[in-house]
Symmetry: D3
Subunit: 324 residues, 6 copies
């Protein structure tokens, strides 16, 4: 923590300041000036943002030694160039990731991931439908995937954008589902629980989050909805290959929940909800995301006024004052 306090965050750097600390370097490019001198253009990042940086009098050796991306210790100075703040780098050295206070670079949920995952397992463990239980079990026993599931962020910007965010979001949705399913006895609870557990599973492949949050190429080309769908098909293929019977309509009904969970074409769902279970997962997802988004916007507001800044995704400012 003492070390963390010493880190100068990107959003704290003003013009004309000394820069001397560890940052993530991204997209370094080796270029030559019109006079033929080599220089390196790159981004320096931490969890608060990123800055353009230039290292003049660079060499190919320096360039090759740079991680792409990775942690580096940077020495240099900030300045304004064409109206934008940039860092002129004098020295750059690769850093052992093991020695880095990773929380400076990636936010992490404050909740206990081990405990949350245990509760997730308990909640989906209540599924009684044998085929759905088998599909869910196939996921739970895929250890590398479950590790990713516990680490992945829930999103890029709007909600649960932290390490563990996907788990936190899924965990909370499952708790909500468990608590309201008794009030909707016509709804097939096992389908809802399995649907909630798997609805965003593709985000483990859509998002990269080792040093900074970003989309993977595959994530941008395919999207997490289709990736989640594919994961289910593959697990079902594996089960069937081992002789387990999984009915086609079970797979289709479960897959439909995943495909429809954004609720409208406009938000990237290729199918509109056509079952009570698909509607329920859509509403629980949206509710939980909005609760996190609203709470985060209110918490992150820096001013002391009763209202947050304009929230573009919500088309409003948010009222922060609580009734006393």
């Amino acid at each position: 923590m003492a070390q963390a306090a010493a880190h100068k965050f990107i959003n704290e750097i003003g013009p004309g300041e000394v820069v001397n600390g560890v940052y993530v370097v991204r997209e370094p490019i080796l270029r030559s000036t019109t006079r033929g001198d080599l220089y390196i253009a790159m981004f320096l990042c931490d969890r608060t943002g990123q800055l353009n940086a230039r290292m003049w009098q660079a060499t190919e050796a320096i360039y090759k030694a740079l991680p792409k991306p990775g942690f580096v210790h940077v020495q240099g100075r900030s300045e304004l160039y064409q109206n934008n703040l940039q860092v002129v780098v004098n020295n750059v050295a690769t850093i052992d990731p093991g020695k880095v206070v990773v929380e400076n670079y990636l936010a992490r949920t404050p909740k206990d991931c081990g405990q949350m995952f245990k509760e997730v397992k308990d909640m989906v463990g209540s599924i009684r439908h044998p085929q759905l239980a088998a599909i869910v079990h196939e996921f739970l026993t895929d250890e590398p995937l479950m590790e990713s599931f516990c680490d992945a962020p829930g999103g890029m910007k709007l909600h649960h954008d932290c390490i563990g965010g996907l788990l936190e979001h899924t965990h909370n949705m499952l708790r909500v589902a468990k608590s309201i399913l008794p009030l909707y006895p016509r709804v097939q609870g096992d389908l809802v629980l399995a649907g909630v557990f798997l609805h965003d599973m593709g985000k483990t492949e859509e998002l990269a989050y080792d040093m900074a949050f970003s989309y993977t190429d595959s994530g941008q080309l395919i999207g997490h909805i289709t990736k989640s769908f594919l994961m289910i098909q593959r697990k079902v293929d594996a089960l069937r290959a081992r002789g387990v019977t999984i009915d086609e309509d079970v797979v289709d009904t479960l897959s439909h929940i995943i495909l429809a969970h954004h609720g409208s074409y406009e938000f990237g769902s290729p199918k509109l909800p056509a079952t009570a279970e698909a509607f329920m997962v859509y509403y629980l997802d949206d509710l939980d995301a909005k609760m996190d988004q609203v709470t985060a916007a209110i918490d992150n507001e820096l001013s002391d006024t009763n209202w947050t800044a304009w929230q573009n995704a919500l088309q409003t400012r948010l009222y922060r004052k609580r009734i006393s």
Copy 2:
């Protein structure tokens, strides 16, 4: 019940049949033919639909005696006219509403309204914020209003369109709210409970439902959102007139939930949700309405196929098959 079985429902009448039973007459008009003979045009209705009807050789006395609207015993015959089924009425006599099997004309929730209202009172009774509690209490002690609240339908067509539907919808939303509020500790639960209780209160004035469901003039001109808002203001005025302190921000925050509970301008909300509580009431309302709508569409489907007819409001057909 034996009597109810004897009623021939509007949607069971074919062309060329004898009509002899009790129906609701609506919008009777006295007109004269080109030859100067008087006749009465009217609608005959029950809970399954309505038909045009004509009584030829009518008199002004008959017309004046007709309830507008009301229950009448009709004798006549059905026929096709210009491609539409209509009833030619020979005799029409006003009927004592007390002798009518009202369930033939207005559907009623199968649930126990007394029990539901008791539970509603218990749930909103848990509100600890004294000003909100006072406002809610002001509503609960308005007996004529609470009677209407227990009788009013929840909507015209899409969901809870039955006597007691508003109570059923509010009751269920309150149960859902109570069960998930502990999972969102940042949300001000008292506001959500009060908001849910009052969100559709204006439907008691927007909808008429003595003999058939329809909008009141005032309901169509003003709408239930604005009417619910006004009811709160009036109750607050009454409290203040009695010396009870109600802070303006409490009224505004509660009113905002009502004004924003349709979630978007497109659906008639004059304000977008700007608090976590307003978002939560919006989602719980939409979730509960959709669960009812989907269930009803599936239950009312007459064919034996796996899919319902096209649901225009949902832009899809619904899948009826349950996983076995």
Copy 3:
């Protein structure tokens, strides 16, 4: 053809006519009247439409013997009931599908499917990229799938809604692609050809077309875009299982074309086009579909005026007069 001429098409039946011919029966239901008599409700169809039908004095044996759906010889009479034409069936007997003039029930492309499929194979045979060629080859050698590919309709209503329509549409798009690719040298032609070949492959599973065109349950829950995507993944899995190297970015780039080929979220694409190849397939698909739709609307117009009836999907009437 003599036989075909004798068939009385559904859209030629007026009220009060004798019905005596072969139709497809769909969704038969055994019900009982209020007096307890059994009757069968069903639809009778051919390629021009469908009619409600009722068989009174039915027995469970008759009901069980009915194909659901299938071809039957029907004897009865048409009549108006509650403003709608229906058929009162006196006799119904299952018919050997082999003896039926199937063209009366399902329209078929007038083009030579064998020749078209041969040309499709030739055109995609020109793909030089070894991994794309391997994927395409995996499809071409899947005989049951290729049989479905040659039989499936191109759509339900708007374009190529005939047996062989999918092949006709794909064949024509490939010809267009081949002819314009030389004019866009920056576009990766192999990707476009593979993308065109596979873009609607999932329609073989989305649509049923043995006796009448309809959606399969799975088709409605999942959709042909996601089904086409899954087919590609499965073929790639099979290739990799046999040791063939298929790079992830090749699969993703090809899959992206399929996912984006409706061009906008509004039309059910879960991804917007993000490559030149995805844009090209989207335009070629839309162009070919519209050319078929416009031509069909003009050909099917019954009046002699210069304009077709209103085309709801195009939001206009179409001008039929050619410049002379």
Copy 4:
């Protein structure tokens, strides 16, 4: 005026300049640096814009003495910080608002408000319908409200955004209504005049305008449409409490004009116009607002070209050249 000329407007301050003048301070916050020193963050405003400001080496006494918001005399210097202009404040002292040239901080309509208000009273004085006349009279005799009505701005940004703007807008709409009502004899002129007079009355509560234009909390949570509606209800309640008969349909029809005057859900009306009078008020409001907005954009354009800058709210640039 000499004094006004001496004021350095916010939009005239460049980097590195001395700042020495009276500004409105808004949202001051007392914070401590990482070293524990106190400083004050605040905004400095006048009618041309606002700037961030920081006072280092501040004390709690200074902070407490600051108006929040209010007029202060500031001494300091402008500088660029993280690419944004800010003011470093050395000295700040509260100023007696009575000694301030208020026009520097709030724009005011150039028209004669007394004269306009007199004409408004004359025009609505022509209303013959006794109940409407009574409602309007109830507003005209509410002196504090009429004072606000004469001072309030017509809007925040797009039109009539100046002290007296609401009066100017209402006055002009009334003049237009008076002049065209004879051309639409079927329209109930009294309703239109009352509707125009009251349509934006709620802006007196929605907008704050003592030192700078802003929304009140209540304004943002409730909105001026609903506030105008409520004002009418309250005046009617007061009239009825005094024994004056006001029919419900008169209140509803008038209220409907207010609720529908934005013309579409998209622009925040909870009801669509359903009477000729509601349509007319909507068009007159929009026409008058657009005339002001277009004229202002053309007048405020600084360049000498034939076109203004892009007008985002109108999705076009405006043509300034007049035909000669």
Copy 5:
């Protein structure tokens, strides 16, 4: 008038009635039955609607003698066929149009067209800008065009759909413009008056209205906005050919009003309003059209209720009750 009363209007014909009167025949087609007999399919119309008709045992001579379209005396009988009312024609004879009560076939404005046109001339005669005055004069002296201008309908369905409707609409808009222009002194009144006069002039070519209202082929392909634009260009060409100077910016500014007068792309304007004058003409057009549309819907409502039927173009029902 006695004669007019004797006409049986299309919307008064029920099934099984004798048809014996004068109607407009449209789109007659000579066809042959499957047995080779000739028959004629056609529509019979008057101002209340149209019906399908069939003449069996027709001959080519009868077909050739039919006007296409034109007035005919028809003898026959109405019947239901495939659920639709149609007329079986026994005899058909062409009628001299001069002997027809044309008001039965085309509605006509009740106002005095001569008087209205005189007033139009007076109002645009007040234009002082010499070039605009010259353009307007060029139109006023085009006698065949002015005759069409006085006869053409204002629209097809929504407003002013009667002979003289275009004149009535333009006349009223000019009166409104004259009365409010003094209230907007910044607006260039001459441009507004010329723009109003010419805004819909292309409807004289877009709509056909000799026997029934319909679009011309050219009208559907080009549209009245573009046709009005072209008329102005042609008149300017003619003026210039005679040596009259018309500046390009005068033509462009006037043309812009025509191109932008539907107010948004969505309603077919290829340009959005970019001058105060274009905005004003758009609002005056929309206001006048809506006043006519609302008034007509209220007048044409047949029921005695307080509300009209649903108005699809307005997305509401209209309230008919006047405050008393």
Copy 6:
């Protein structure tokens, strides 16, 4: 070329640099400071962008001597002012446009315009319909217009925004049309070829491109769609004046293609496509534009990542990696 290399492009100028070179001056304005000194505000532009500039101690003589707009040699210095880069000009002198390397100020297509125009003539020379051929010939022999056609840009920002861009776009669309027309034999090829040739002809009048790309006043008021339409009418008028017969339906059908070629109201087409030919031109136009836009975005991307920056007009980033 040596000279071109010496030009310092606008987007290469940083703060605090000497500026000494030839730029386009635009919108110069003579103003006076509060102290009464004269200065000139202006923009300096080249093909990479534009900068604000100020010349202090200016005189009316200097101002009058400036071209408005035109080429000038500028001496001065760049600096930051209110967060924006601007140029303080010491000396400015008008330059003979003949001595300027025009490519520095306006980008030019790399393709051979003479060759492209020859091929355009050959392709439209294949039109066999005599009236269409006559219309096209009338354009081809209008030498000043054809010169503009060869020089004009294809657009302002999104595609073909270079000198010769209109020709390049039209040429490529014609080649695509020629190659696919044989695959759509029902489509009237002559109409498509003439439609493609003329679809954007109005851009020669909509866009100005002597020193920098901009809209003409007339272009902004009228738009290129309507201008293209008018050009066709004028050519037809000229042909008819010389006694050549051109049928109205030929002009209308061709004009319809021009009016409908943006494909939807939303994109400024006043008519939706209503013929196969109009649909085809719309798709070919959109396809060719998107291919250019995507290729340009990928080529212009400066980073080395697999994705371009966000493309607002396409609502996505573009994937740049080619499959290897």
